[in-house]
Subunit: 101 residues, 2 copies
Amino acid sequence: MKRNLEIIDYKENTEALARFAKALGHPTRIAILKHLEAQSCCFTGDLVDVFPLAQSTVSQHLKELKNAGLIQGELKPPKIKYCINQENWKIAKSLFENFFG
Amino acid sequence: MKRNLEIIDYKENTEALARFAKALGHPTRIAILKHLEAQSCCFTGDLVDVFPLAQSTVSQHLKELKNAGLIQGELKPPKIKYCINQENWKIAKSLFENFFG
DNA sequence: TTGGTCAATCGTATATTTGCGATAAGAGAT
DNA sequence: ATCTCTTATCGCAAATATACGATTGACCAA
């Protein structure tokens, strides 16, 4: 049943795209990702210095980006180094490219 | 002051991108846009038939897409024909392309 | 003017998001 | 064990988002 598979893919792609888009739907999160793109990686504390937000708020945005799969954290005690999750980044990129045609 | 202009552009692009992303951050709105892409245009009623949602809910999603500038409505009494706003679509496309690198 | 059709808007309820300060948790160093 | 540094989580308040049914408004036809 090729048709069903296509429908499922369509549905899954739609929801995956919406999930990524939702994660990108806040200026601070876009800025965090731009920062990570430019620096390749950075620590939470660096971001707290850059944005006029409380540490807990920055941490929450990082959590959402992590839940969406766009970033990943690596333990570098006593800090945590955040980087873009290249694998999912590529998936998101291709979903958006495909979407915008 | 080139530097200031760059900062402003950076800030504006970040916010514009977040606004577009936010509008795309719901499966129904992605699906509506995919539908419009495929059909080029369609009426609200068609969408109400396609999605398992109340008419008022679909209308609300259309309003958000319109506010984000991604679609536009044309009066075709007694119906309204919705199409993708090609101009802003291109802007969104290039913002995302630029963002994902 | 009246009626019919279609879509937007109004209330309303519920859920989610965003932000903060305060607190807890994890991992060395002393 | 205790202290320090860094980050996550908790608890809360305010704002926003999502969905619905009911109502209103716009337009054309009879």
